[in-house]
Symmetry: C2
Subunit: 229 residues, 2 copies
Amino acid sequence: MHSDNVKDDMGPEGDVRSRGDAKERIFVAAETLFTEQGYAATSMRMIARAASVPLASINYHFGSKRDLMEAVYQRVLGADGRRSSYLDKLERNAGGAPLTVTQIVRTFIESTLRLSRKDNVSGAVFKQLIGRAYFEPGDDFIPSEYVQIMDRYRSALMRALPGLPEDEVLRRMYFLVGIVAYVMAGRDVMHLLGRCAPSTVNDPETLLHALMPFIVGGMEAPATLAEDA
Amino acid sequence: MHSDNVKDDMGPEGDVRSRGDAKERIFVAAETLFTEQGYAATSMRMIARAASVPLASINYHFGSKRDLMEAVYQRVLGADGRRSSYLDKLERNAGGAPLTVTQIVRTFIESTLRLSRKDNVSGAVFKQLIGRAYFEPGDDFIPSEYVQIMDRYRSALMRALPGLPEDEVLRRMYFLVGIVAYVMAGRDVMHLLGRCAPSTVNDPETLLHALMPFIVGGMEAPATLAEDA
DNA sequence: GTCTATAAACGGATAGAC
DNA sequence: GTCTATCCGTTTATAGAC
């Protein structure tokens, strides 16, 4: 431990960095623990210990545990704002023509993947967080930006699938979000399904790539099954 | 058994019923609360209050909170043992020919739905529990019977989709399980996607029916996308 | 077997020294 | 701003009367 004027020797950035570091470490620890264990099962003391800060520091920087949770979700999901702009760019290139289902689905999946790589200190660890956002019970932490993005995807899919009733498109979009969330959540269900190379199956990136033909096939399927044996 | 002869006046079924009632009420309350709120967020006191039993009664009948959780999962998932026999019956009728993807998927979905209606006192409430089984962090509660059932589905799908590589079939089965679990989990994500008649969208039974063509289309899709604009 | 009372530990949040 | 010590409610689990 050092006394007050030791920090002053580092100049102004010393102060800023020490503040930022503590807050950032709390952020990373909270993101990791909430993701791995869920909100209710994670205690403030676990977060403090993982971030190597005193317990009171969390309340000082973030307020309550609930506030901390909302801050984590806001940052992670808020970084997703570019999803709609990717769609905009595609539609501009198409010159007014409807996008294909493949294009829309690929944009959704790739921006989700990009979200899991950039702007996130914890990178590989955080992958479950968005998936968990849909399953965590209680009040929803999902920011309003997300609603707008989903609306953009909805209208694009409506145009791409004119043969389907509107509510059917909506349901299939529900399935699209759900299955991506499920894969992002990354729960290892494969041990249920028998042996397989774990790297092939558990890596979210590989899985989401394999997901493409599956989703497109599902999206473009007829509303009612032809075969009914 | 018991020292007091007061209870003997009710006859043997009096004893059995009183034991069964308390234990059963605890079971139902636990199933409901674990399902609605998750394991960590549910306290023994909530369960005791919902079941109208004293707190100590839970520990007497079930041991620890963890033991209670495992008992609930065992009973709910264990009731799923008929899934494989449904497949067996189909294959016997087919006389050695491979089942169609539609048949397999329908069997999976319908037995999942049947599971949510029968052999469960809480009926409508429990719907999320199986879905949650795949997402609840921590050690897994999934009984070994499930692994065998999944193996049966895996081999049936392998035969139904001879054009796909084995690991691709496995991945698509992963998607099948995932999306059914997601819909069963029943988290209301539809407010993200814009307005829609809630009854059409939130009712699991309707959703799972709409899921059929989507999944079959995804299952039968080519391994690589033809269109790549 | 049922229930009250309590033990022992843990939870989030804060007061106050520095 | 940082950190120690603490308050106080809640948690799981059990002891012991009936």
